[in-house]
């Protein structure tokens, strides 16, 4: 019996996770708002907490065109150069 496989696996991309910092103290924090309702509010509260409790400072905030779209390449460059870690959100 022969079956015709109708599926395609996602193309393989090798991704390397960034080294996790031992401490957030003094690190530059980037925020990516995906434009979901209240995502900016939630990210801001999270950033305030990270600053207060762990000493990370927000240095750059970017807003996506929409939740459906990928973040713009220029924004990725900015985040790379101006942030040590990035928080993005939110889902439903």
């Amino acid at each position: 019996m022969k079956l015709f496989d109708p599926t395609t696996a996602p193309a393989v991309r090798v991704l390397t996770l960034a080294t996790r910092p031992a401490s957030l103290a003094g690190l530059r924090l980037g925020l990516v708002d995906n434009t979901k309702f209240n995502s900016d509010t939630l990210l801001r509260k999270l950033a305030d907490r990270l600053q207060r409790r762990h000493g990370a400072q927000v240095t750059v905030t970017r807003r996506k065109r929409s939740p459906s779209h990928e973040i713009d390449e220029n924004d990725i460059k900015t985040l790379r150069s101006q942030a040590d870690l990035v928080v993005s959100g939110i889902g439903d």
Partner: protein
Amino acid sequence: MPDTDAGVEPHVLIEAYYDAGWTDGLPVVPPTEATVAAMLAGAGLKGHEVLGEIAGRNTVVTADKVAINAVMAGCRPEYAPVVVAALRGLCREEFAYHGPASSTGGSAMVLIVNGPIIERLQINHGNNALGQGHRANATIGRAVRLSMMNVMNTRPGFLDRATLGNPGKYAFCFAEHELDHPWAPFHTTRGFAARDSTVTVYASNSLYQIYNQLAATPEPLLLEFADALGNLGAPNLKGFNESLLIFAGEHAEILRASGWSRRDVQQFLVEHTRRRVADLKRTARLPGEITTADETTWRYVFDSPHDLHLVCAGGRAGSWSACLPGWGKKWTRAVTERIIEP
């Protein structure tokens, strides 16, 4: 490898496709070398050809896999160019596939076919245009959904996160009733000539039928549409909507007889599809306390006449039309793709 599974009972093959997790819940037509080759020939494509990519999901859509899914869906080979064009449309950057395909909103991918191919393929545009009973409508729509599941990894519970979904997710394909129309065919408003054959892909998570048997002029009829499009449960009430309106039967005749242009209808709906801010706050569609000003402050659903896609389909008899709110124009846009026949 033999071309056919002679001696294998059809139900055994059908069950094997179920067991592999490759169906949409309905039985599929088990492909053979010959039927897959015929489907590729119908599309005028080689198996390795790439129809599109969705970078954020590492998805590459190739002709051979689409051909297999089209056979499984029950398509005839001559339907393949429509399936291919629809999938190319889904891969366009402006469609922004990931959102409408994966959202909890559970959108159907609505396919609207225009042009001479409608008659050649007998795609239904008349009585029961959105319903069952026509092979081309059912299988073209199904082939696109099966390809989404199998090729684009849009499986329920995985990258299809629909909370409820809707029956249009099995298949949603119809043709425009181009000869019984108040205006020029829809695709001519999107940069194509009437002689071109096209398919428009559009994401919508609901369909409302609009009933009115007394209206004899556009205004009362269109006020009903405005009410439906602006109902408080509709998604994207906050000024970034895109909507599809399907005028049928007597309603299309009212618009034709009135002399209203397509733009007149669109403009009327832009001006009348609105809700008071107080209504939105009362139903927690907007946050905050209701102020006195909120009772007289309007929030408009549409920014522009271009946000309203007007098409005609359906039987001549009856006082029914339909509207399908979009998944949100800021997040996805309808895409019209030329159908290329070999």
